[in-house]
Amino acid sequence: MRFTKYLISRIITYFVVIFVSMTFVFLIPRFSPIDPVAALIGRLTAQGSYMDATALEAMQKSLKETFGLEGSIFEQYISFWKRILAGGDFGPSYAMFPTSVNQLIRESLPWTIWLLSLTTIISWFLGNIIGAITGFRKDRWYSKVLEDIAMVIRPIPYYIVALTLILLLSYIFPIFPMSAGGSSIGVKPSFSWIFIKDVLKTAFLPALSLIIVGFGWWFLSMDALSRNIGEEEFVSFAEVKGLTENEIMFRYVMKNAMLPQVTALALSMGTIFSGSLITEIMFSYPGIGMLLYRAITSADFNLMMGIITISVFAVATACLVVDILYPFVDPRVRYR
């Protein structure tokens, strides 16, 4: 019963977040000091990109629709929502006319999802396990060394780590390709060994930079949590009872410290997502980040709107899923 109540409140929050975010997305172009349609068409023609008459016409029509410049602002707002709820048709991409925005997103999304989920899981587990060990054995030399290293890594943004890795591993020690888009040209996506090897090779650097930063983050918070729990009375009691150090560490300390880490995982979804966007651009990895970059550089507003909407939904949904799973992880959870 209490769980149902908790679930309902979480789902309400989820819809409020999406509603507010999308309202922002709707309002920003309208309150900007620039007339977006004129600015976009101006930018496109300034680039001297050749567009045929059909493309230009379709573009103007869909621009007018995207910005919904007919009718009162309230009517525009209603039709904006209708478009999103009707399956989110964002019209054609201008830069890659006549491919639809949705198709472009569909092609890029899997790349991002698998890179993100894999690196998040790896860094979260590594950070938690190693953080629990160093937090529990806080006086060992390796604990101090690891803490100092993580202290240096943690505040550095993803793309700076990415750039450093490129400088180190592609330029100074040429081990990895400078930049290749996901898989080499001519290799068709399939479940052949060549393709997989290719993907692994190009995904390695972006994945490594995401794991390094993520590890620093999770490690430090787990380290601090374990230290605090290690000073609790029930831990001293376990020591008196004669349990081994390892038993105490995993059964008492880690079990309790994991809980806040699950919450933190939900809260950091947004950060991880933005981090991966930039990392993809750095390594020309063919995910959503790279697509967004192309959308920005070619002033492809439909594509931008599509990606931004998807991002809002994806991050909000990920948070909701973690929130719903949380009570199953933590038996003591107080359904707020």
Binding site: I28, S32, M151, P155, P157, I160, M304, I307
Partner: protein
Amino acid sequence: MKSKRIVVSIWDNKRFVVGFIMLMVFVILGFIVSNFSPYDPRSWGTVPEELPPSFKHPLGTTSLGTDVFWFLAEGIKNSLIIGLVAAVVGGALGVTIGITAGFAGGTVDRVLMAITDTFIAVPSLPILILLAFLFKGRASIIVLGLIISIFSWSWPARQVRAMTLSLRERDFISMAFFSGEKPYKILFVEIFPHVVSWTIANFINAILVAIGQEATLAVLGLSALEEATLGTSIYWAMQYQAIFRGLWWWIASPVVAMIILFVSLFLTSKGLQEHLASGRS
């Protein structure tokens, strides 16, 4: 009734000292040294192109004919300004909203926290990208700071509220309340000083986040590209493929500067937090 305790100086905290000294070097570089630039660091073609570091150009020159060192000094200044604007605006908003919510309670609290929670959960990067895209070419350094501050107030607001709630329960607040003090006076005279120390650590953190976000926007080509910031330094180096063409000093300088700046900010705020935690009984 103040209990006596041994006062430990902040200067005994190694992390804080290291971070603070590095930070001061950046402040001096950005706000003092940058004024001695022999030419406008942003204007192209003032120096010979693509020279490696030398005595005359300590960090070399770019393909645009600008001097890496002077551009960087100017960039550090502007990045710090962006960080300060976002931290001041976001911090002031956050503290005000947090204290108000925690102190008022009831409906006011619920409404304010609903808004705050929404802002915490809203994915900020996509919306910042959209904003910056429409401002492109028009955003000044200050406007960029303001844009970034739209999302930098929510988390502090939540934390300040939690602190206010715990402070509210303490004796001296009830004392003040029952002796007929006005609520706003209690707010600023009794509660605010307790929140101040935490605010400073949070403030430094906000600067760090804002500088990082500007650089993120710059990588996407959405910052104030005609201005010098740490982000735009990286942007231009990437536009001109500095890495692939062997102009390592062009790309490495802003990257290394940024790493050192971030680490120094982080150590300063971490050291402060540790110091505060040890000082509380």
